[in-house]
Amino acid sequence: MDELKRKVLELLKEDARRDTALIATMLGVPEDQVAKAVKEMEDDHVIVKYTAVVNGSKVDNDKVTALIEVQITPERGRGFDYLAERIYLYPEVKSVYLMSGAYDLLIEVEGKNLKEVASFVSNKLSPLESILSTKTFFILKKYKQDGIIFEETEGDHRLVISP
């Protein structure tokens, strides 16, 4: 990836609502170059989507999120990817990672309540062939996500005017 794309990406990761004109000004390059870089990264799925980072606890307290460790036996010829796909197609599954270590997949599942997540695990996840075991951990509180601290305590303490 070229230097310009890397810089554009950094600025968009800080704030995805920055438009190409602003980014071009900040980087000191012509706007059409930025627009082209963004377009190419969108086409190449470098930029997959623009979304908002939400502090869920302020929206509704009902939703619960769980992290589930899954041990599997990869299928001959299809490896882990096939099973990962079987899992990530469920809309309640928010993320799926292939892991090194004691288990194989780490998945994040969101549900309205404990029961809903539990039922997903017992009725949908566990019955899948090749799944050896699952361990479910419910998230109690999110402090930081994607590098963003939800309850920022380090505010601006500077004097309003200083020499």
């Binding site: 600025l11 704030d15 602003l22 900040m26 601006d156 309003v160 005017i161 200083s162 020499p163």
Partner: protein, 402 residues
């Protein structure tokens, strides 16, 4: 018994009569007045801040906390921890190609401010003239005057990007001239000096046998070019007291960590004053500064890159508003001209604050050449900058119409 012993011949009328005449003569900083107008208000966007908007990186804070846990709470050697002086020497050599002996030529101080104070105290004798290119940081003249020195402003101009011109400097030199105080990159103008800009200045310094205090606190915040330390110019090392610190580049203002480098005779004299007045810089700050130099250079580069992005944004913003703005090549200030509005800088800043709720510092407080300008710090978030620019734009339009 003699009664006159109990009764002084003349009673002092007020407490301020006890003050010496130099302390009495110092004017309160023009920034102070503005600060009083603003303080306590929450609805204001401020471009008036002379410090980074980054908090000191966590690893630096953590190093300090850890040293406290380990009980590192004692005096250090007067000149500063040897490891820190070593690190400063190495850093200055790597970054700016200047070489100082950590044992005799580097002194760790309480901020760059103390280093400037020490240098002036050590150098200035009553009647000496101290040359100060202006607009400039507000402290040089008062400290000069405290020691009985005579500050002589040398005006710099927007049309020269606020570079110091040799002809302007030479015109201000007299047989009593002794010290030249340089501050590039400049607070408040953002002006910088290239090697080519410096050479004729160095010639004058040589010719008139001047000594230079070079305040290079903003050295790292130089954009699109490398900072040229005055001390790195041919023949200038022994004529220069290089002053810098950690505040701006490493986002460490509140730690008060600075240093001075120079000829052992000069640093030695400054060290004497330093040991009698403050003993040593705080050990906690020294530990943090060492960590910043050891592991903080990448983070520093990221911060500089971020200032640069915001610099481009604010300069373009002012030009679109119709305020003339030279391109600041360093520090984190833009210094646009507000003359096209017909207002003087103080009126502009005051009305901008009251009517548009944006705080900035009027240029007149920075000495000669500052009138007609506004110092705007862009060390604030892109969102705030964008909003401030919109508000300034509306305000300027309103003023121009009326």
């Amino acid at each position: 018994m003699n009664e006159t012993v109990q009764q002084p011949l003349q009673q002092r009328g007020s407490m301020s009569d006890y003050l010496n005449k130099e302390a009495r003569a110092i004017k309160p900083s023009g920034i102070r007045k503005f600060f009083d107008l603003v303080s306590g208000r929450k609805d204001i966007i401020t471009l008036g801040v002379g410090e980074p908007d980054f908090i000191t990186p966590w690893h630096v804070r953590e190093a300090c906390v850890y040293s406290l846990e380990r009980g590192k709470t004692q005096y250090t050697s007067n000149a500063g921890m040897p490891e820190l002086r070593e690190a400063i020497g190495q850093y200055l050599n790597d970054r700016f190609a200047v070489t100082y002996d950590p044992a005799k030529e580097i002194l760790v101080t309480v901020g760059g401010s103390e280093a400037i104070d020490l240098a002036l105290r050590a150098l200035v004798a009553p009647g000496d003239e101290i040359l100060i290119p202006e607009p400039c940081y507000i402290s040089y003249s008062p400290i000069t005057a405290l020691g009985g020195g005579v500050p002589v402003g040398v005006e710099t101009f927007a049309k020269d990007n606020f570079k110091l011109r040799a002809d302007q400097l030479e015109a201000a030199i007299t047989p009593r001239s002794k010290v030249l105080i340089l501050c590039y990159p400049s607070n408040p103008t953002g002006g910088t000096m290239t090697r080519e800009d410096w050479l004729p200045i160095a010639e004058l310094v040589e010719k008139h046998d001047l000594i230079v205090i070079s305040d290079e606190i903003y050295a790292e915040l130089t954009y699109d070019a490398n900072h040229v330390s005055f001390s790195s110019l041919p023949g200038m090392k022994d004529r220069t007291i290089l002053v810098s610190g950690f505040s701006k580049a490493f986002a460490m203002t509140g730690w008060r960590m600075g240093y001075a480098c120079g000829h052992p005779d000069l640093i030695g004299a400054m060290l004497k004053i330093h040991q009698y007045t403050v003993m040593c810089a705080p050990v906690m700050g020294q530990v943090a500064a060492l960590e910043a130099l050891t592991n903080g250079l990448e983070e520093k580069d990221r911060m500089v890159e971020s200032y640069n992005q915001r610099r481009r944004l604010i300069v373009k913003g002012f030009r679109e508003i119709g305020l003339e703005c030279h391109e600041p090549q360093g520090a984190f200030y833009a210094f646009p001209s507000v003359q096209s509005t017909g207002l003087d800088s103080e009126t502009f800043a005051e009305r901008l604050l009251l009517e548009a709720k944006v705080a900035a510092v009027p240029g007149n407080v920075f000495g000669l050449g500052g009138e007609g300008h506004l110092r705007c710090s862009y060390a604030t978030s892109v969102a705030q900058l964008t909003e401030a620019l919109e508000k300034i734009g509306d305000f300027v339009e309103k003023v121009k119409k009326s």
